[in-house]
């Protein structure tokens, strides 16, 4: 009798179906994008609403790519949705740093924290911060929304209808794009989308150098505006607060920390790598174009083959001012004290310090940035310094650093 039951095929069928039932719960569907373009979206509108500019839209968005609308004209979906698009961080790290660590829904960039298919490694560049979207003509719709952690679709109806920007852009297949929501005119408060096709993955960069280029994406008329009108921006980069002239020369000075006889750290510039001319920065928001990259060597620490602790002191000067001969500017690494310096207010001088030891991410929009190199645990070396590709964007008195890294060997513990 017992043998009959156990041999009975029904028993096996029941047991198997149970197993299948349980196993089916973990079905995974992978999302793929046919013929993709790679995009990364930044919201450069850092203003806060005050009584003076209260009629402007809240600079906090829900982005729709190829939006779909319901019968009443409200966006309800699309190819991609990026909700909680907050103002960008001062530093856009080369890896998807916020994805696993942040507990906030607010997204400092797109894709940022969104779980969407990201771009592959292209010519050695790690593009996990770029999202895949189908190439071709794409409609981008940015809806202004209140700052809260309520998802867009669950907001009250009237708050889902504030169109901020609605535009169509053409994306080519397998190209890399950086998109910026920018203020185009400081006086009329006109805003627009700035689309830059990146070329860093096509350029012949050396592994042993690190690169940086500069953009001035400030609004028309920002520098010329009344000083008081620039005040409400909270904690803005001190030295760039009032804006820079449309054409500025860039000088990079490399600073090497060392320990003196008394045991304290001293910051000193490397004499042969001081005031290095790194090209010109021109204000350009109408014709997006990649500016030339300036490369410099990684100054490895003395007796250390893999690690560098130098940092860069970047100065912006109006043309004809030469920091090597002009005596009225403090010599790096000294920092001018405060805004009393007349040049800061008329936009002929500005500076930023790429010193990771002074950089504080919690202090939004200050003068200090992480370095123009990346120090990570790679192989058996911890840390090891790698050259990366950086972009520094000056937008209405703020500066932002974006870093792209190459693939490097994974750490061995």
């Amino acid at each position: 009798m017992k043998h009959k039951i156990l041999n009975c095929p029904i028993f096996a069928v029941i047991a198997l179906s149970f197993v299948f039932c349980v196993a089916s719960c973990t079905k995974t569907e992978y999302r793929t994008v046919e013929d993709p373009a790679y995009i990364r979206v930044f919201n450069n509108l850092t203003y806060t609403l005050t009584l003076d500019n209260k009629e402007e839209a809240q600079p906090f968005f829900c982005m729709f790519i190829d939006p779909e609308f319901d019968a009443s004209g409200k966006p309800i979906g699309g190819t991609a949705i990026g909700d909680f698009l907050d103002k960008r961080n001062i530093y856009a790290a080369p890896n998807a740093a916020h994805a696993g660590l942040s507990t906030s829904k607010y997204n400092p960039e797109y894709p940022g924290k969104e779980l969407v298919p990201t771009a592959p490694i292209l010519n050695g560049f790690d593009l996990t911060n770029w999202a895949q979207v189908p190439a071709g003509k794409r409609r981008f719709l940015f809806m202004a929304r209140p700052i809260s952690s309520v998802p867009f679709a669950q907001l009250p109806d009237e708050q889902q209808r504030k169109v901020f920007l609605d535009t169509i852009i053409d994306l080519s297949s397998r190209e890399v794009y950086t998109l910026h929501i920018l203020q185009k005119d400081f006086k009329t408060k006109e805003n627009g989308l700035y689309v830059r096709q990146e070329t860093f993955h096509k350029q012949a960069f050396s592994d042993t150098l690190t690169y940086v280029n500069f953009y001035n994406l400030s609004a028309k008329g920002f520098l010329q505006a009344d000083l008081a009108q620039k005040l409400p921006v909270p904690g803005t980069t001190r030295s760039l607060r009032y804006g820079l002239l449309d054409t500025m020369n860039i000088f990079i000075t490399h600073i090497q920390p060392s320990v003196n006889a008394a045991g304290s750290t001293v910051q000193q510039r490397i004499p042969n790598f001081s005031y290095q001319y790194a090209g010109q920065m021109q204000r350009n928001i109408d014709a997006p174009k990649v500016t030339p990259y300036y490369g410099f060597p990684i100054f490895l620490q003395n007796k250390n083959k893999v690690y560098s602790d130098t940092w860069q002191y970047i100065q912006f000067f109006a043309p004809a001012i030469d920091p090597r001969t002009a005596v009225s500017y403090l010599e790096p690494p000294s920092v001018p004290g405060g805004l009393t310096e007349p040049a800061v207010k008329d936009g002929t001088f500005g500076y930023i310090l790429m010193d990771h030891t002074q950089y504080a991410p919690s202090y939004y929009l200050n003068t200090f940035f992480p370095g123009l190199t990346v120090n990570v645990h790679s192989g058996t070396a911890n840390p090891r310094t790698f050259g990366v590709v950086n972009s520094i964007e000056v937008v209405n008195g703020n500066a932002f650093l974006t870093t792209v890294q190459r693939k490097y060997p994974q750490p061995i513990y």
Partner: protein, 385 residues
Amino acid sequence: MRPDILAINQKTVGRQTGGMRSGSMKILFWLALLLNTLFIHACKNKDLDLYVESDKYSNAADFIGNNYNLSLFYAALKQADLLDMLKQEGPYTLFAPTNKAFNDLGIVRASDFANMKQDSLRQLLLYHMLPRRLYTSDVPPNTIDNKYVNMMEKELFIGYKNQKVCAECTLISDFYVNGSKSVLATQNIVLANGVLHVVDKVLKYNPTIQDVLNSKPEYSLFIALLKRMGDWNRLGEPANTTVFAPNNEAFEKAGITANDIAQLDPGKYGKRLSRVYLLYNHFFLSDMAIYGQLPGSGYYGSPYYRARIVGDELYYFGISANTPMEPFIIHSQAPEANTPLRISNFQPGYQTDYKADNGVVHGINGLLVLPEEALIKEETKTSQQ
């Protein structure tokens, strides 16, 4: 797993343990069958209707009638024949002024409404209602100027401050409609046909700012000054103006009479003499509480608001950072950059936040610029360059 392997294994086990095992295998079979049935059965989701609408809420008319603190509002609704409407389906949102709010306007007993024109009373009351349900959660926190069309088909400007600075701090949850405040305890009162928020001020509305000022005899000298200085016409135009209106007492304190104003020569005075009271903007006093102070430091360095006086740009009008939020005037350049030239103060709350289609009027009780201070001198002209 292949069924035959399973069967062989089971056969071996059965042989070793004998008859005892055959019973338990049978049970195991039935248990497996049962488990599987249950598993499949679990996929079926029967709709459970756990939510039963409560019928214990009263309608708007009954709620107001049963609330002693809203007895004057009830009397007004009765006088204006609106109670029947408030018993209907709705939905309505009511901003119900307390008895204290009516007392501030000089209305102390129900019979006081009898003297009013029924039609304008009706309009005033409809101004306090929205033809929809609006809970505080529908308004984005820490925002101002959320506009909702009321039953008089005018926009109400709603602001909401919802802030908890630290885990142990008290939750600030203030709901403002046209500058009238509803505190946490009296917000979101659920009604069968809507929602009610108790507010501390009666909402006041006139079509234009000229109408607001004309309707109040205490501003006659101020009107005379505006007319004399050529700033009166703007207040009838659609462009927004927020007016900080000094009353006649303020002029008397400064020793200025109607005759003095009539004899002013507008060309001899800086624009600030009259324009210090006019902001080319639209805001309620509560908007400053919601947005908070401007960045900066110091008593007058980080005020709630500061704006250049139109036509006299060396001077600023501001609202100071201290608790009574004093309106002040300040010269923009050193050495007086952080010391106000003159300070005033607001009239009581019920004399502020008078809404018109083209702005708001707030009563103040002192002059900010005396005529002799605004005289254009030669040396002032050179210092302006």
